[in-house]
Symmetry: C2
Subunit: 637 residues, 2 copies
Amino acid sequence: MPDTLRRLSPAGIRDVTIEGGFWGPRLALNRTATLPHIERQLERVGTLDAWRLKGRPRPNEHVPQFRDSDVAKWFEAAAYSLMTHPDPALERRLDSLVNLLARAQWEDGYLNTYYTLVEPRNRWTNLRDMHELYCAGHLIEAAVAYHAATGNTRFLEIMCRCADHIAATFGPGRNQKRGYPGHEEIELALVKLYRATGERRYLRLAEFFINERGRRPHYFEQEAKARGETRPPWAGLDYFQAHLPVREQQTAEGHAVRAMYLFSALVDVAVETGDQTLLAASRRLWSNVTGRRMYLTGGVGSSRHGERFTFDYDLPNDSAYAETCAAIGLVLWSHRMLQVEDDGEYADVMERALYNGVLSGVSADGVGFSYANPLAVHPRPGGDHPTGFAPERQEWFVCPCCPPNLARLLASLGQYAYSTGPRQASVHLYLQSAADLEVAGQRVALTQRTDYPWQERVRISVEPERPAAWTLALRMPGWCAEPRVAVNSEPLDLRGVVRKGYARLRRRWSPGDRVEVTLPMKVVRVEAHPRVWMNAGRVALQRGPLVYCLEQADNGPQLDDVALLADRPLRAAYDRELLGGAVVITGRGRRRDAGRWGEALYRPGPTRRAASRVRAIPYALWGNRGVGEMLVWVQEG
Amino acid sequence: MPDTLRRLSPAGIRDVTIEGGFWGPRLALNRTATLPHIERQLERVGTLDAWRLKGRPRPNEHVPQFRDSDVAKWFEAAAYSLMTHPDPALERRLDSLVNLLARAQWEDGYLNTYYTLVEPRNRWTNLRDMHELYCAGHLIEAAVAYHAATGNTRFLEIMCRCADHIAATFGPGRNQKRGYPGHEEIELALVKLYRATGERRYLRLAEFFINERGRRPHYFEQEAKARGETRPPWAGLDYFQAHLPVREQQTAEGHAVRAMYLFSALVDVAVETGDQTLLAASRRLWSNVTGRRMYLTGGVGSSRHGERFTFDYDLPNDSAYAETCAAIGLVLWSHRMLQVEDDGEYADVMERALYNGVLSGVSADGVGFSYANPLAVHPRPGGDHPTGFAPERQEWFVCPCCPPNLARLLASLGQYAYSTGPRQASVHLYLQSAADLEVAGQRVALTQRTDYPWQERVRISVEPERPAAWTLALRMPGWCAEPRVAVNSEPLDLRGVVRKGYARLRRRWSPGDRVEVTLPMKVVRVEAHPRVWMNAGRVALQRGPLVYCLEQADNGPQLDDVALLADRPLRAAYDRELLGGAVVITGRGRRRDAGRWGEALYRPGPTRRAASRVRAIPYALWGNRGVGEMLVWVQEG
C-alpha cells in the first residue's frame, strides 16, 4: 500500500491487552453489560427484525432510515470484542446475522432494509436525507472488523458486492449519479475496505464522494428537484458540509458527527493517495474546531438545533449538545491526524475527548447513555431541557446512534494507545496494558503498569526479542507542565528529547529495559478564551486528562453561586467509595446562604459569602447519583 | 359607584401637564414622532384598510386576527394625546375612523374586521385563538378614551352596541355561550365601559368572563371539539391562564401579556364588586411575579416560546423575552393595586417597569421599537437570535402589538403620577409636571420641578384654593435608603411619618407651601436571589429607579469578561452628549486582554486581568448606538 503520508500505523486491536487499571474494568463492563444491553435493545425495538425482513411497516408508520447502522455499529463492536475475548456464542449470533444480510441483499448488490421494506422503488433518490450510503458505510466497517476478527470472508464479500453496486451507481460516467452522502461515513469505510481487500476502486469511490461534495450544481438540489420537491430544503447545504468543496472549507460547519466523519475520511484518502490538499484542509478545519469550537470536554457541535457547529466561541454550557457520537468522531479524526503528523497535539485532543466527552456518554453501570453532554445542568420543572434530553442517562434513544458507537470505540481502544512507525514505537495513551508490536523487524512487548489517570506514575517494561536501536516515543501530554522520564532508573534530561509532544528515546533497547514516566498531576484551574463569554469569570478544574465538575450530590444546589477561592489550594485524593473509585478534588469556596437570603428577588449587595467546602468529581462520572445540578465552569473569586 | 375597596383614584389625564424634565421631551416625541409613525405603519401594512373593509384577502393569504387591536391602541393613544394637546386635524382623522367603524358594525352589533372580511360565518367559534374579544376590548378602551377626550358619544355608542351583543352571546343562559377570551383584555375594558356609562351589565359581563375562566368542563376544549378539531391544542390551558379558576391560581402562568391583563381586571372587578377573593388572588399572583419571575427591569415572561412565564427564578438574560407589552401590563396591574392598597411596594414595581423594561421598548428617535427586551446581547452571526428578535430596534413588527401599547401608556402617563383619596393627594412618580387635583372638596394645584431621575431633588409647590387639613402622601421609593423631606425649608423627621412607602404629611396646607423631597441616588450594586443562577457572581448597577447596562459602544466587546472592582467607587455624572443627556456611571474594572490571549481556546489560569474603565448607561437607552454587546448583570470581583 502506498502509505506515502502516514508516519505511524496504529497497533492492531488484538495485539493490545487492556486489563486492570482505569480501563480494564470499564472495557469489561462494555463487553459484559453494554454490548448485551444494546443487543437486547436492538431486538426490543425491532431493528434486528428489519434484517430478518420482518415487520413490514404499516402505512404511515415511521421507520427510521438509519437503523441498519445501529446494528452495524453494534456488530462492529462485537467483532472487536471477539478479537480480544473469543466468545463462540456471540460469534454464532454474528454469523447468523450475516446470513440474514445475505438474504436481504438484492440481486444487484443493493443492501438497505429501510428501502427494501418501505419504498423499494425509491432507492438512491434521496441521498441528502435517507442515510443509504451512511448505512452502507457502517456495514462495510462491520464487515471489515468481522473479517479481521474471524477470518470469515462472507460478510466482506457481501459488502464488496454492495460497494461494487454503489461504485456502479455513482461516478462521473454518463449513466452514473454524481451524488454523495448526506451523512458522511462511507468514505472512511471505503478506505477500510480498500485496505482490507487491496481493491483500489474502493479508494477511488471514496475519493469521488469527497471530490464531488460541495460542487456546483449542487447534487442535493438537483436531486430534490428530480423528486419534485417544491418546498425549500429543511437544512442548508452547510448542514451537510456540502456548501463548498471540502478543499475550500475554512470552518467546521453543520452537523458535527457528519463533519467529524468527513474530516476523518479526508485524512484516510490523503494518506492513501498522497493528496496534500486534503491534508491541508483537514489541518485547517482541525485548527478551527479545536481552537474555537470545542468544549473543554472534547465535545463538539454546540447546538441541539441541527446537532451542529454554530460559530466561533459559541460554547454555551447548559445547552451544550456535544453529542457523544461527535466526541467519538473527534477521537477518530484526531487518531488519524496523529498517525500522519506524529504530533502530540492530536493525541492531546484525542485523550481529552476520550476521557471526558466520550466517557460521559455511558453510565457507571454500562447500560445508561447520554446523547447530549452538557457542561452544566440546572434541572427544570417540566420537560423543556436545554439540550432536548433529560439530564440523566437513558437506556435507549429514538435515534440510538451513540450507544453502539461508544461500544465500538471502547472495544477497539487498544489501537488508539500505541502506534508503530519506521524503527519507532509510540505510546499515545497511558493505560495498564500489554502490547505486542512489530518494531524494526522484530516483535517488541511493551507493558504498562499504571493507575493513570488516577496516579501520575507509569511503569513501562520493554521486551524486544533482541537488542536493537529504535525510538520509543512516549507522549508528554500537553496538560503536564513538568513530565519526568527515567530509563532503567536513570532520570533523563528531557531537553532535546521532547519533540512534537513526545519524548523520543532513541537508543538500543534490550530485553528487560524499564522506563518510568511520571506525569505530575497538579489540579489546574483552566480558563477559556475571553470570547467564550459564557465562561468569563469562571474556571474549570482539570487534573491530568480529566475535566472535573461539581455535582449537587456533593455540594448542594445553586452550584453557580459557589466561588472557588483563588488563593486557596485544591486537593486531589482517591475516594475508593465513589463509583468504583475515583480521584476527587476538594477545596474551599464561598457562597451565599440561599436559606438566609429571604424573599427578595433583588437586593443591594454585597451579601456575605460564607466559606464552604467544594468537592468536584470527574466530569465523565457525572449523573450517576440521581438527578441534580452539575457544573463544569465554576466561579472563582 | 360603590368603590368599596379602592383607597385612591388616579388623577385625570388632562389634569396633569408634563413638560420639561425627563419626560417632557419624551412625551413630545411620542406625540410628534411615534404616533404619526404608527399611523403611517398601520396604513402601510393595510391595517387601516381593514376598517375600510377594503383589501378582502386572497385565498390562503394570512390575515392577522388581532389587527383591529393595533388600530384601537393607536386610536386610544391619539385620544389621550388630544386630552393634553388638542389637534383638530388628528381629531378629524379619528372621527372619520369612527365613521368607518360604524359602517363595519353588523346589524346585531358585532364588530371585527377579520371575521367580516375573512370568515363571516365563523364568528365566536374560536375564542381560544382568534382574539375577537381581545379586539373588542381594545376598541372599548379606545371608545372610552375618545369619549373622555372629545365628549363625542358616537364611538362609545358603537361599542356599547357591540358590548351588548357580546353580553347577549355570552353568559350562563341556555342559549348563551359560557366562553371567555383566549387573550384577556375585554374584562378590564368592560369595567372602563361600566365606569363611563354607569351600566352595570358591563361589569357583570367582566365578572362572568373572569368567573368562567378555568372552570370544568373547559370551554376551549368543548369549543375545539365543536369545531371538529382532532389534533391536540397547540398550547396548554395554562398558556391562557385557563388551567384553573383564577381564584385557585397560585403562580403566574402562560402568556405574560394575557396574564397581566387578566390580573389587572381582577383588581378592577374586585374594586367595583367588593369581591375580596379576587383581590386575594391578585395579591398572591403579584407576590409570585414580583418575587420570583420578574427581571430587574420589570420585564416579565422570560421565554420566547409562548411569550410566557416559565418557572420560579428562571430569568435568563440573553434570551429574556420580557415583551414590552408585558412590562406595560405590569404597570397597568401595579397601578391598579396601588390604588387599592395605597402601598409603595406597588409604585416601586410600576416605576421599575416604566423606567426600564417599558422605556427600553422605544428608540431615542421614537420610531424604533423593541418587542423583546433582553438583559444581555451577544450579537450572533446569522439570524438565530436568542429572543427571536434582532438585537436592534425595528420600525414595525409582524405582530405590532407593542408600539401602540407603548404610545398609549406614555400619552396617558399623567394618571400614573398622582392619585387622590379621601382628604389625600398622593405623588407616586416624581416628574416635572403640574397637576390639578380635587382634594378635600377643593382644587389643589401640585407642581413638581425636578430633573428626576437624573437628579435627586424634587421641589413641589402646593397651591390649594384655601388652607385646609389633608394629607400629602409622597412616595419614598424602595430603592432609596435615606430620603429627606422638607416643608417650607423645614426638614421633617420622617420616622413615624412614613407608612407603607409614603411620607404621609397630614397638615393644614396653605397656598404657597413648598415641599422639597431629596432622594439620594447612590449607585447601588444589586444582587439577585441565589436561585437565579444566571446572575450568580454578578451585580447590576442601579441608580434611582434606573437599571444600568454596559454597551460595547462604550466598553468594547467581551463585556462578560469585565469585572467591576468591589472595593472601588462608582461615579455618576450627567453626560449631556449622550442621547439627549443622561446620567452615566463610570468606575474601575478588570478584564483580560483578549488581544494578548493568543490562539489557545483553553489554558491554565490565572490570566492577569488589567485595570479598565467601565461606563454604564441607563438600560432604557441601550441599542441606540449601533448593534453591539449589551450587559446588565456584570461580574464583580
